[in-house]
Symmetry: C2
């Protein structure tokens, strides 16, 4: 469930556009007014405001926001006003440019969306970039990392709940063999993670844990991982197994005391605030002494903090 | 363009259902009456007749056809009355059961459909089999054959006409390297064939031909191919390069004097009669001394021949 809220009575797009222009004008931008409007409109409403603003003032709202705001607040707001499907296409494209650092973005889009949502993102990618997400991921990677990421973004997974327990047991064995041998021969492992339904994979992961008293992610070898493949595999397994728990961990790492990771923080909050942030927030609370809002408030400041807090519904 | 025809005035589904029941009743089935009705109704009309027949007579038209007809005619008619998208899902599923012989079916569905059509087939596959085409293809194959087939059925190809000629030249070089080295290291080749748009691939195939005075399919090593990978690669390249020419060749092989291949003949005619059979027929004529109708009429007989001829519009 979403955390961001929309008022019971919503002004018309023309009224919102006028209020935004007013917030931009004069000495300094009224950032709080911008947040008060845009953080409390759903995706369809934001789209209508964007179109109306351009129609009324003959300038792009996105461009105006870029010139009026700055830093993490600007980046977060500019992602927020995009259509959710387009936003993911834009984020995936940016991630393919520095895939060794940004592979989690690609994995999250591939694994946390439903099958139909992933197809919609890939369709938006075609429209925006005149090529496919698949070819950009494939061209940016090699070896096992390519095989894994390409399988994850390509596959049209079965979305149902049907589970074959015999298959889960036999594939848990195959995964155990692969894990024991390091990352040398992971073809079968990638085939399983890349094609089976999430329900089937969760049964397989469960069989693995029952049999070996350890999760797959813990059983994978630690230490050197120059290609990033093992880290990507851990990310994918965690994101498929329990996306709320996975995103809660991303947020925990992003708000830890050794330094804030604003990019990850922005990404998760903006992408999930109107989707499944309540579940992520609960998962965060279960493993932390403070609430998600408290953790984020402590590590951020100014308009950026106000905006994230508004998206979190506090 | 389609070759099968629909009369200007079409009877109601109830009239067609009644006429079909009449054709089934009495001493022996009136196969010509069945052909006269069903070969001249489009997919939506056939669906309505199927539903109406079941409603009126409380039996499945498909089951009744199976009990009334026989041999190649029965198989062709039972495929014909299926919804075109479902039919492809059914055919793909059957092909995964004996993939070493039937891989062309999987490749045709993956490569001759548009991106949106392929997604529709994969959606129908989910609904029918409670799993994905990807996992069935992956579980049935290994090695390079798996990598290739899985890439082809998974990918969400860009459908546009945009072509990057620099990329085409550099990827033609990569393909040439791979072809020269046999099938040992085809990871890059499979990446290119599996992810690039058809327009881009045709430019790449053209660059290869200009540079090496030979098509990729001819340059690939002949001789032993125990895994079937090289044959599958040739099939995919030909199907992507020119699907009309590819299907014309399938039909030429299926009707050659050394023996008729009814399964391939039925598949291509039934799957393409209401889609792009005119183009396939023209491509056939360019490489043959007889027309497609003449070639098929010579190699088939009885009701099966009458049915195929009706679908071909003669």
């Amino acid at each position: 469930m979403a955390t961001c809220t929309v008022p019971q009575v919503v002004p018309s797009p023309a009224e919102d556009a006028a209020a935004l222009l007013k917030a931009f004008q004069g000495w300094g931008t009224d950032e709080q007014a911008v947040i008060a409007i845009l953080a409390h409109r759903d995706a369809a409403q934001r789209k209508r405001i964007t179109l109306k603003y351009e129609e009324m003032y003959n300038e792009s709202l996105m461009q105006r926001l870029k010139s009026e705001l700055s830093g993490d607040f600007e980046r977060a707001m500019c992602h927020w006003i995009l259509d959710p499907v387009e936003r993911q296409a834009v984020m995936a494209n940016a991630a393919t440019k520095c895939i060794l650092e940004e592979y989690p973005v690609v994995i999250e889009i591939a694994c946390a969306n439903s099958t139909a949502e992933l197809v919609a993102v890939k369709e938006a990618y075609h429209a925006l970039y005149k090529c496919s997400l698949e070819e950009d991921v494939a061209a940016a990677t090699t070896g096992n990392l390519r095989s894994l990421l390409l399988a994850l973004v390509s596959t049209y997974r079965y979305d149902g709940d049907d589970v074959n327990m015999g298959l889960a047991r036999s594939e848990a064995k195959i995964i155990h063999e692969a894990v024991r041998n390091g990352a040398a021969d992971h073809e079968e492992l990638i085939r399983i993670v890349g094609t089976r339904s999430k329900a089937q994979l969760n049964a397989t992961f469960g069989c693995f844990k029952d049999e070996h008293s350890s999760s797959i992610t813990k059983a994978l070898p630690r230490g050197t991982d120059p290609t990033g493949y093992l880290r990507a595999l851990r990310t994918a397994v965690r994101c498929i197994a329990d996306s709320n728990k996975y995103f809660a961990k991303v947020l925990r790492n992003a708000t830890c005391e050794s330094g804030t990771d604003e990019d990850s923080l922005t990404r998760v909050v903006v992408m999930h605030a109107e989707k499944d942030m309540k579940g992520i927030s609960s998962a965060f609370r279960r493993r932390s002494s403070v609430t998600l809002e408290q953790a984020i408030a402590k590590e951020t400041s100014g308009d950026y903090r106000s905006f994230l807090m508004a998206l979190l519904g506090s």
